[in-house]
């Protein structure tokens, strides 16, 4: 038998680690479930949009002096995509991201593979940052896949055209109607996707923090989702209005800005700064806790 194996250089170590996390992510069946679910949900949305007549919506638009004769005048692929994004990005994706993050640390602790990794000569920090990198990639993949499906299948079914939206559908406290010309829309959707991904990365960092605190994967994602939904509900409490601009969930929804007629870049910057701060805070806390942690599983 030969001597000890050669140690990897710093960069090689990081690359190798990320590659291994990727292998694990790919190998787990549950990784692929969200893609399947999203595909099915998009199919469902398409049939709902085929079925609905949008008479009420036409009346609401009329109140804003925009006169559509029938749904064909404004319901197109972009319209369907933009109006489906809210529930998808607020509900479904956070669940998928929380589950994936919960499995990554608490789930591995449960399975015993976490301790098997930690007795190898790898800095603990690299483990958690590697997992975060993979989760970020996974979030991006999910967000872009979802948008691609929504827009793509939407256009196949309902064609293209300008996007008319009621501002109040996108929570900025304004009324009125936004119209974004068709030529601008692919860029708008891409921007929305990237902003949403940034939000998901913050959630992933929070989930990793919780995942390194608790003992089971189920506990990790139940806790993460409870915190997320609790914060999301706070906006319905009028006496907490002052708090709302500081919550990360507020800024996770900022992608909605991308469908206003005139994008307020200032607000988007503010949100990006908030998200970045939350991200750094959650991730540093996760790293610090994980480095101190007694691994007893």
């Amino acid at each position: 038998m030969s001597g000890p194996v050669e140690a990897l250089s710093f960069t090689e170590g990081i690359l190798a680690y990320v590659r291994f996390e990727l292998t694990k992510l790919r190998g787990r069946r549950i990784t692929w479930v969200p893609f399947l679910v999203l595909t099915l949900v998009v199919g469902l949305i398409v049939s709902v949009f085929h079925y609905l007549q949008f008479t009420t919506v036409i009346q609401v638009f009329r109140a804003f002096q925009i006169f559509f004769q029938s749904k064909e005048d404004f319901v197109n692929g972009y319209y369907m995509a933009a109006h489906s994004m809210n529930p998808m990005f607020q509900l479904l994706l956070p669940i998928f991201i929380s589950v994936a993050s919960g499995l990554m640390i608490a789930g591995e602790a449960e399975a015993g593979t976490l301790r098997a990794c930690l007795i190898r000569p790898v800095p603990r920090r690299r483990l958690i940052l590697g997992k975060f990198a993979i989760l970020s990639g996974y979030s991006l993949a999910l967000c872009l896949f979802l948008l691609f499906m929504l827009v793509g299948i939407g256009i196949l079914n309902f064609g293209t055209g300008d996007l008319y939206t009621l501002n109040m559908a996108f929570h900025n406290g304004e009324t009125g109607v936004s119209m974004v010309p068709a030529a601008e829309l692919p860029f708008r959707f891409l921007m929305a996707g990237l902003l949403a991904t940034m939000g998901m990365m913050v959630l992933a960092a929070l989930a990793l923090l919780i995942s390194s605190l608790v003992e089971t994967a189920a506990m990790a994602y139940v806790l993460t989702l409870s915190i997320y939904f609790a914060l999301l509900t706070l906006r319905w409490l009028p006496f907490l209005d002052w708090l709302y601009p500081y919550l990360f969930v507020t800024h996770m929804l900022r992608w909605q800005q991308c469908f206003y007629e005139h994008i307020k870049l200032g607000e988007i910057y503010v949100s990006l700064v908030h998200l970045a701060c939350y991200l750094v805070a959650f991730l540093s806390a996760a790293v610090l806790l994980f480095e101190q942690k007694d691994v007893k599983s």
Binding site: F20, A116, P121
Partner: protein, 338 residues
């Protein structure tokens, strides 16, 4: 020249007993549970290069906790661990580079193949050529099954895969926590032979915990017995055998034989509780032949004269209490939360 590979100095660990769990047990309820659990209490031991060191103890004695600390999984309350001269607290990566190990039981990604698992874990230790993975698969006898998912592996195959994973970084020291736990007699023998071969032929140093006494007797050259977090006996197995292994003697006149042994050799013979008309004596350095000649010369018919079997079992049972128990003590200031 003995070269220490694993040095454990004054190692202690106090767990803060779970507040909720103790409340649920009907114990001391409330947020200020005044009890802490001392799982490991000032353990000292040194494993030298070439040793096969058996770390023995009843359930809950603190074996796994000690091993977890020796691998940097949990932080000691006090004391320190050095591996190959590197302090685990300050030089964790260099220390761990010398080790292949598992704690409790080897764990794998059940949805990946055995080989993929080996590649993943070995890759965390360094650059592992494919040939080395193949060689190791052959060594542990998993050839032909390495491309199956681990979730179809039997317990014995997982144990072998566990050892393969330990071997892949080509360590100087293997730390194994109950490597034959849960295996059938064939599996136990196989793993035991494998460890023996690795130690003899490859010169690997092994530190293994176990509560299977014959396993340890069979494999190890040095042992430590730990109970309630403290080492109560430690030494070279051959020396312990000299001082603790008794002879079983059966003659036609047990009482006279006992008197003769006391007079002539100053050794105390006691009746054997397990066998009628048998005596148990500590030979105190006297050779079996010598005692035999003396007894026969005095006209005692010696029917049986042999070293006692399962002496380590007996010693272990004498030294350790049977029920799982641990020391409780008032919490210390600044103790870590568990």
């Amino acid at each position: 020249m003995p070269e220490p590979l694993l040095e454990i100095e004054d190692l202690s660990k106090t767990f803060r007993r779970r507040v909720l769990a103790s409340a649920a047990r009907g114990g001391i309820a409330g947020a200020d549970d005044p009890f802490a659990l001392q799982a490991v209490d000032r353990i000292n031991l040194t494993v030298e290069r070439g040793d096969v060191f058996g770390f023995l103890g009843p359930n809950g004695a603190g074996k796994s906790t000690t091993i977890r600390m020796a691998l940097g999984l949990i932080h000691p309350t006090s004391g320190r661990v050095r591996i190959g001269g590197y302090d685990l607290a300050t030089d964790r990566l260099n220390a761990l580079r010398k080790v292949g190990a598992f704690v409790e039981a080897p764990a794998f990604y059940s949805y990946l193949t055995g080989r993929k698992n080996l590649e993943i874990f070995a890759g965390l230790s360094g650059r592992v050529p494919d040939a080395l993975v193949d060689e190791t698969i052959d060594l542990v006898g998993l050839r032909g099954r390495e491309h199956e998912r681990v979730n179809v592996y039997s317990h014995g195959m997982k144990a072998r895969l566990g050892i393969a994973a330990c071997l892949l970084p080509r360590p100087e020291l293997m730390i194994l926590d109950e490597p034959t736990d849960g295996l059938d007699p064939h599996g136990i023998r196989e793993i035991r032979e494998l460890i023996k071969r690795l130690a003899r032929q490859e010169g690997l140093t092994v530190f293994l915990s176990s509560h299977l006494l014959n396993e340890v007797e069979n494999l190890c050259n040095r042992i430590a017995i730990v109970e309630r977090g403290s080492i109560i006996l430690q030494g070279r197995l051959d020396e312990l055998e000299k001082t603790h292994r008794r002879l079983r003697i059966q003659t036609d006149k047990p009482q006279e034989s006992a008197a003769l042994l006391r007079e002539r050799f100053k050794i105390e013979a006691r009746p054997d509780p397990d066998a009628r008309a048998s005596l148990l004596v500590m030979p105190n350095g006297h050779a079996t032949e010598e005692l035999n000649a003396a007894l026969s010369g005095a006209g005692h018919a010696v029917r049986h004269l042999a070293p006692e079997e399962a002496w380590l079992d007996r010693l272990f049972l004498e030294l350790t209490t049977t029920k799982e128990s641990s020391k409780s003590s008032a919490p210390m200031a600044g103790e870590s939360l568990s």
